[in-house]
Amino acid sequence: MARFSFNRLFTWGVLISLGTAFSLSPQSPLEIIKTSNQQVLEIYNANEKIDHALKNEIIQIIESVTDLDEISNRTTSSFCCNLSSEQCAEFNQVFKQLLRASSMSKVGRYRADRFEYLEEKIEGNKALVKTTAYYEDEYLTLDYLLEYKNNKWKIINYVTDDVDTIRNYRKQFIRLFAKYTFSEVIARLNKKLLSLEEEENTLNLDNS
């Protein structure tokens, strides 16, 4: 029996939001999203099993269209003022690594069948691409927010079923900082990071 497909869809959104498109000429935001989705879909369709090499391939696609620094900075901006610059830098570093590790652990577990591209809105150096992701009879709305930086559009946030991802991360951290100290929160994130890396290493060993 398949796992709850909605989560597959959601994580696909997360993955693609961290995705890339190999293109030399500047593509439109919609083209960026379409191309990266298509590339990942092709890998999924061509391979029954996603091994470590394929995972890396997918992650490469994902990371080259995603501005992880921006996502991390936007997440921490509201509470970094209460931290020292070293603490903030450390936090950003750990959080980015966690986002990568989390994406890596999700690859292969979840997927979407197809996407519907609804709208592209460009205002200055910001763009919004509205999509619907489908998996069998489930669907969710997935909107990408992109920013034009260094001659390229990159994803800086995404909204899944009206849930703003960065806002959600931010709220969770505000909640955690209200309950725990900085060192406790960082310790948790590091432990989670370690556990995800261990999980990934175990999977690699099993596969090899």
Binding site: M1, A2, R3, F4, F6, N7, F10, T11, V14, L98, L99, S102, S105, K106, L140, T160, D161, V163, N168, Y169, Q172, F173, R175, L176, R188, L189, K191, K192, L193, S195, L196
Partner: protein, 464 residues
């Protein structure tokens, strides 16, 4: 570390719970679609069959009445036996009337024919009454079949809900047991953040899980029996049903008056009462015609022969054993009990007025019933839509919790609550789907044609 241990096992359990599947159909299990279920119930249910025979009875009554109009009344008699010898004639005979000797055979035949020529409307009124009687029985049959179809729709969706609930219940029970065991183990683990508060919460919800499982088993057994009973199957026979779409309710209340007018035409009760009114009018005409005479033509043939009795050739002598007769005549028959027929006319007129009042009451009831059914269908469509939205939110809630947990920023209690909400709304969606289908079927039922509901299901939307 405790925090991560806690969310990791919860995450695993929650993920493993999201696999709702439906029980497999065995080789002996027959699968019914909504349409085939309704057709089978109409064809196989004893009540449906009984009404078919009632219609047949009314049809033969009409056929008999028509036959009486076209076919004359005919009577053929044949007698044969032994008779004492009789010789001579009326002037002299060696035999006496009490002689019982020298028996010989005799044969006697007669054929009479009477045909009404003019009945002053009696025949046509009788035919009209019989014809309307047939229409009335057909409308009564439709009442029974419509009721059967509506009951079948209820049973069909009841069974569908029961099967889904059972599957969901089993799934929940299996996964929740694992979940409960894990929580119990984690409470004992000094390193874990899971504490007795978590355990209490999980144990309390476990009651709801068990309640749902028990209710779903009971519901499935009962629903199967009700469904099988309607389709005239063995009560315990395993059946399954195909999934049908839920029609979208997009009909405006502004057009309800047209729907009420349609219902007044389609409702079989209205048709039955209409036919009853026509039948009673025909009976009044029939009673009136009884006050008038009937003109008829009568004809007859007679033949008798007895070899040991002397043939009497005198035309004025009535001989019962040797004769040949033929004759025809026009006649007039008139029942003089006119006052009795006047009473009959008054009685039938009273019946007519009573049915007319019932017909008026039905018209007003149809309006109320259509309004009620429409409001109910509209309400259930809204509630189903809201239940689905809530379910989608519950899914998003879980998804978001998972996302947060995978980043190490989630919350245990929120996950448990999201899990509870997800299953609660899965269950509620099943209930709401049932209510929605039943209320739409009721709307079609009060309009007078359950086929309308089937069309809605087939087309995926409510329209007229």
């Amino acid at each position: 570390m405790r925090f991560f241990k806690k969310i990791t096992f919860l995450l695993f359990l929650i993920l493993s719970c999201w696999s709702v599947s439906f029980s497999q159909t065995g080789t002996n299990t027959k699968t019914y679609s909504l349409e085939s279920a309704i057709q089978t119930a109409k064809a196989q249910n004893p009540l449906g069959k009984a009404t078919e025979f009632e219609v047949q009875k009314a049809f033969f009554t009409l056929k008999k009445t028509l036959a009486l109009k076209n076919t004359p009344q005919m009577r053929f008699n044949l007698y044969s036996g032994l008779v004492p010898e009789a010789r001579g004639d009326i002037f002299y005979s060696p035999d006496k009337s009490d002689d019982l000797d020298n028996f010989g055979p005799f044969i006697r035949m007669s054929f009479d024919l009477v045909k009404s020529i003019y009945t002053f409307g009696r025949t046509s009124s009788a035919i009209e009454a019989a014809r309307q009687g047939l229409y009335m029985e057909e409308a009564r049959k439709d009442i029974v079949l419509e009721t059967l179809a509506f009951e079948t729709v209820k049973a069909y969706w009841g069974l569908s809900a029961a099967l889904k609930a059972e599957s969901l219940g089993e799934d929940m029970k299996k996964n929740y047991k694992k979940f409960l065991n894990e929580v119990e183990e984690r409470v004992q683990d000094e390193e874990s953040e899971v504490d007795d508060l978590d355990l209490f919460e999980v144990r309390i919800f476990n009651y709801s899980v068990e309640e749902m499982v028990q209710e779903s088993h009971k519901l499935k057994t009962l629903s199967t029996k009700v469904f099988n009973s309607l389709l005239n199957l063995e009560l315990n026979q395993a059946v399954s049903i195909s999934n049908e779409p839920t029609p979208l309710f997009m009909f405006s209340e502004n057009n309800l008056s047209d729907v009420i007018s349609l219902a007044e035409k389609l409702r079989p009760e209205a048709r039955a009462l209409n036919s009853a009114l026509f039948a009673l009018q025909a009976r009044i005409d029939l009673a009136k015609s009884h006050r008038l005479p009937v003109i008829f033509l009568a004809a007859g043939l007679g033949y008798a022969y007895s070899p040991n009795r002397a043939d009497q050739t005198n035309p004025f002598v009535l001989d019962s054993f040797n004769y040949k007769r033929v004759g025809a005549a026009f006649g007039l028959k008139w029942d003089a009990n006119i006052s009795l027929y006047n009473i009959e006319i008054q009685k039938t007129k009273s019946e007519y007025k009573a049915i007319l009042e019932k017909h008026n009451a039905l018209k007003s009831r149809i309006g109320v019933e259509v309004n009620q059914a429409f409001a109910e269908a509209e309400k259930n469509a809204v509630l189903l839509s809201e239940a689905r939205k809530a379910l989608k939110s519950a899914k998003s809630w879980i998804r978001l919790n998972i996302e947060n947990w995978e980043l190490g920023i989630g919350d245990v209690f929120r996950m448990i609550r999201a899990y509870e909400a997800y299953y609660r709304f899965l269950r509620l969606e099943i209930e709401r789907e049932y209510q929605n289908h039943v209320s739409l079927a009721r709307l079609a039922f009060v309009i007078g044609d359950i086929n309308i509901y089937q069309k809605w299901v087939k087309n995926g939307k409510v329209f007229f």
